[in-house]
Symmetry: C2
Subunit: 292 residues, 2 copies
């Protein structure tokens, strides 16, 4: 796949979800008109589509600021031996969507994925007369509501879903917490690095002893490499080993390489999952009040 190319035959990017899903919006953010987003019903089907060659790459959520890392995606990424070649960060906005002609007064039920319902609890609590109806995904709930033509039904989904299915947004940005960001990554079947790549994602295993992580992090500090994200993976029942996922960044690619070489000497096992340009950070939505 040539990420920078223009082409008549648009590159097919698989995503998990229905048309209008946040992942589809992320495909447009990252690749614009160059890509054609291909919906896949489940995670297994998404990764199988790439293995079968029916799509050229995948765009998948890997981290959300409220829900944390999507460890299932890390597992599938490792299992299928894929490569992270790009990232994009989206501000996830939820809207209250209904069919044309509906109004807040006509609504009697609100449907969406339970995670989206949970992220808009304050609005729902203020309207106890609205029944909560779980759905398998956000975009699909918008489609069902609009197709029904029933003014008593509303859905919670993103703007793309409202536009795609011809729904009306009755209330904008109804999230309880505006700090709702999702980071998506582009996965390719093999290593490909674009110019300007300054961020690396790694998986590693360490023997479990005091100081093991400290020792593993030394090479990064020594070469001026920033640690951007770290997460240990709970392997319950295997208390003497554990797994880490790291994102690191440096202005100079050779600093990353040097740190990696030294890291490999100390860790049990290290695997580079990708090397790509860091996405621009979004505006700081609101200052957090500190920990206390």
């Amino acid at each position: 796949m040539r990420l920078n190319a223009t082409s008549e035959a648009r590159t097919r990017i698989g995503f998990q979800g229905e048309p209008g899903a946040f992942s589809e919006e992320a495909v447009r953010d990252l690749l614009g008109g160059y890509a054609r987003a291909v919906p896949c019903p489940t995670w297994d089907a998404t990764f199988a589509a790439l293995a079968a060659g029916s799509v050229d790459a995948l765009l998948v959520p890997i981290e959300n600021s409220l829900a944390g890392s999507v460890l299932r995606v890390y597992d599938l990424l490792l299992e299928h031996g894929l490569w992270i070649a790009a990232e994009t960060i989206r501000n996830i906005e939820h809207h209250l969507i209904a069919c044309p002609g509906a109004s807040l007064d006509s609504i009697r039920s609100v449907e969406s994925h339970p995670m989206a319902l949970a992220q808009c609890e304050r609005l729902l609590a203020a309207h106890p007369e609205w029944a909560r109806i779980p759905a398998e995904d956000t975009a699909g709930s918008a489609r069902h509501v609009v197709e029904s033509g029933d003014p008593t039904r509303a859905a919670i989904a993103g703007r793309a879903a409202a536009e795609l299915y011809g729904g009306e947004i009755l209330l904008e940005d109804i999230r309880d917490d505006k700090r709702n960001f999702t980071r998506f990554v582009l996965l390719l079947p093999a290593r490909e690095v674009v110019p300007g790549a300054d961020k690396m994602t790694l998986a590693m295993r360490l023997v479990h002893r005091p100081g093991a992580l400290l020792d593993a992090l030394q090479p990064f500090a020594r070469h001026g490499v920033n640690l951007l994200k770290i997460e240990s993976r709970p392997i319950h029942g295997c208390p003497w080993e554990y797994q880490f996922f790291l994102d690191v960044g440096a202005e100079r690619a050779q600093d990353l390489e040097k740190a990696l070489d030294e890291l490999r000497q100390g860790a049990e096992e290290v695997r580079v999952l990708g090397l790509y340009p860091a996405a621009p950070t979004l505006d700081c939505v609101e200052a957090q009040g500190g920990l206390q």
Copy 2:
């Protein structure tokens, strides 16, 4: 709340979900007959119940081996200034449940929380004739299916839900991945430490520079304290500061205290979220095949 006491009036433990939920099973694991589990419909309602004094403590999931940390719970814990006083780890088993008299041949639809449906994708893919129906929670789906008396409907939920509502388990342990563990924590309104507490949960903020985390971890290594879990929190748009959640463990409480004193001198902000006995680790379900 006196965790070791026996009492006529059983301690009321709030949990998010319906009766028969995995959180309710976790209450029994941890406190046995001493506690009375009180279902709360939403996260906000759960934490509000403790604030209002209508329950004495909360038991909430904080980490899952497939889905990662429940960052929303960390946020609420910080916001409400609560204290982690105990933990328990459960192996989350999903079963296919129907009303008495139903059989695999009579099933036409399967309902559950989308996360549970996603965790049993292989079974569902093998039965394309079964419609997938999303529900707001696993235990509630079991209740609805059994109450309907309809032999074409099945639910995916835990054993407690099957037993509570009188359902029959048609297929046992239908998870795609047997490494599905959830860690639950007991939250109290104020600091309380039981004898044998050897594990500490911390939140901290650090200035973002190469080596900042390394420096912060030095005190733990120096005092022989094990790092059991680490997670950085994405604060997108605030690139010069970031937040960490740590679990650390030591055989001697004074080692933890010494490391903490030194940590406080280097970190921007440190808050102890709890001190409690580490739960026994579960049996290693299957060896992972390594990273490669």
